[in-house]
Assembly symmetry: C2
Homo-oligomer: 401 residues x 2
């Protein structure tokens, strides 16, 4: 396995970031700021020596004394993965810039910081399994997220959206869970398009295990991405941290199906906080799995855009003039172009027996002159015909509205 574009990066830097990715649980503002200031090698050295600022040192806890980084890099290589670091050419700097902007708004904590995982902070490194360069794959990507307890409707729509995005050259990004996540990946794969699974555990693990075959197909042309080193378990709190990454890597997040107060809604709110497009798919109001989507669509402040098709998703996230949805318009009928009086005269015409203009004027509620004025145009448009004794509807025009 050759690391894409990774040849130029100092192995010491990569090793330091590998060490940090295990020593400190991802999602810490304080650590990220410390690394930004001092660089990954100096930070790893300081933490190992126990000489980092107390607020950062406490984040590593007992892990400061362990070093599995060489092992982790080897384990990654064995499963066809690599550690992508910000110093690499394939680092998705542009999408992740949103996290750097968000973290700038975070105040510097004064005491001990305990609620770290709710904070939007860039990753220090990404474990990436699969051959394609990460930056290329996520450049034009959309997150499709939703409930694990999805309905057949939600899975159908997720698959259609992913396939539609794939056909237009866009990558689908999602978790690897049952339900909407899996349906989205399957839809993209069916369209021959690459997908990206962002996991909350090591990239050497398949979670859930039942998705072994699915992940194998994903890895043919797509990627499995994680902030956690190989072997790490999908602990519950990691999903929240992972979700911010799904939101950050993509141009927008589509919630396909979600129960009330669900994780998918949280991902949507994170996407909004990051300045990304937030979209939701409506569904039957009788379905509990669409309640979360409808809540998002009803939220006036943090509102989502209603989308019903891949074209509408790209209308929201796509570049101007390139992916914008073409508005579908119904062709105008002859009736559409009629004046108001002409329409009324037309409505006044009987189906069978022809009547004189005076009669039409009475029924239509207008002047006989008006009737005489509009009748030629109606006749030209094949809407009325002269029977010899009066005017009636032309056979094809008789369908009442």
């Amino acid at each position: 396995m050759t690391a894409v574009g990774g040849g130029a990066v100092d192995p010491v830097v990569r090793r330091a970031r590998a060490w940090l990715s295990r020593a400190v649980e991802p999602g810490s503002v304080d650590l990220w700021r410390f690394v930004e200031r001092e660089g990954p090698v100096a930070v790893a050295t300081a933490l190992r020596a126990g000489s980092a600022p107390p607020r950062v040192q406490v984040l590593a806890g007992v892990r400061a004394g362990e070093d599995a980084s060489a092992d982790d890099l080897r384990r990654a290589e064995r499963c066809g993965a690599r550690l992508v670091v910000p110093e690499d050419g394939e680092w998705p700097a542009l999408p992740l810039h949103s996290l750097a902007v968000a973290v700038a708004d975070e105040p510097v904590a004064t005491g001990r910081q305990t609620d770290r995982t709710k904070v939007l902070v860039p990753p220090l490194a990404l474990w990436v399994r699969g051959a394609r360069p990460l930056d290329e794959l996520v450049d034009r990507s959309v997150a499709l997220v939703g409930s694990r307890a999805s309905t057949a409707y939600g899975e159908h729509v997720a698959g259609e959206l992913a396939a539609g995005l794939g056909e237009r050259g866009w990558t689908t990004v999602s978790g690897g869970a049952f339900g909407i996540d899996a349906a989205a990946h399957r839809g993209a794969l069916a369209a021959g398009a690459p997908t990206v699974v962002v996991a909350a555990c090591g990239v050497d693990r398949i979670y859930p295990a039942a998705h072994s075959a699915l992940f194998t197909r994903v890895l043919d042309d797509g990627l499995l991405v994680s902030e956690w080193p190989p072997g790490c378990a999908p602990l519950r709190h990691r999903f929240l941290v992972r979700n911010r990454l799904i939101a950050a890597l993509t141009r927008g997040t589509v919630v396909v199906e979600a129960a009330a107060r669900s994780g998918a809604q949280a991902t949507a709110h994170r996407a909004r906080d990051l300045g990304k497009a937030v979209m939701a798919v409506p569904g039957p109001v009788t379905s509990a799995m669409s309640v979360g989507c409808h809540e998002l669509l009803r939220d006036a402040e943090r509102g989502a855009t209603l989308v019903t098709s891949a074209a509408q998703v790209l209308d929201r996230v796509g570049e101007l003039g390139e992916d914008l949805v073409r508005r579908e318009s119904r062709p105008e009928t002859a009736r559409d172009s009629l004046s108001d009086v002409a329409r009324r005269v037309l409505d006044a015409c009987p189906v069978r027996i022809g009547v004189p203009p005076e009669r039409l004027a009475g029924v239509a509620g207008c002047d006989v002159l008006d009737v005489l004025r509009v009748l030629p145009a109606l006749e030209m448009a094949d809407l009325v015909q002269w029977t010899g004794t009066g005017w009636r509807l032309a056979p094809a025009a008789g369908v009442a509205g």
Copy 2:
């Protein structure tokens, strides 16, 4: 049949308005302004004499020479109807004020005015069949509109919404058509609530004829309302004129199901132009009958509010503090109130074999002191238990997220 609150109105005025309602097709700005200025009796006299301003005179056309007003009033009485005029106490002046405001924005036409029916203009009189006073019934009312070619889903939702509104003391207003209109009336009737059918033909006619039994039930406690005198046919152009009245009489319009570019959407736009609440019910994106609703919900400028229940409809149109929807909130779980570190320690606890705090600190990625600090709280909340040799999840807390 006794006209409700009609005793005080000069019969000459009522007769003049009856005459005008047949002589000129409803929906004319010029006529309405002329009547506002000169009064109905003077206007009827002028039109009959052919001495009205040309722009108004042409509206009556050949009908200026006919007088069926006495007949019309008699025919109305025979079917249990009356002519309600602005001079009556039961005239719904407050809701219809929106039309008077809208018409003030209309420029005074200089030439011949042909496109009259697109204009929002108050009615000159309303033919009302049924015993209840019109103003009382529409004071707290909502329009439920939608496609005639509705789906079982749309009809179910229309019925549920109407029943929910009825249970809360609100009146459903709709057309009398197949599909959503009928489902809405049936839902309200099932809840024992009154409904109002606004027709595009005379109130002595049942259109469509198949709704004879439905209209009979509506008339038990509700009303059939029309701008057109008895005997008038439901000509196609009249539906557009009628639709503005549905929007005007109510506090808001809910589009339940609508195809792309449909009449229901037009009614919604009229409601918006009148400053009324516009709402739409979402549905499966796979249903053609929800496309119109989704279009309304996607329209950023003339956007509708997404509603999924009668409570949400009243949240939009209801009076403050009276009908406002109660937000449903899920009770907080013990886990919800935990600190971030406590949640991570909890996630680190194994299900079966107890482990020491040092091990928990390693898995959770925090200091041993942190673990020792949060464990008592976790134990108090029955989330973890001490096995004698270490800590593990309490049996009930073990369900992973």
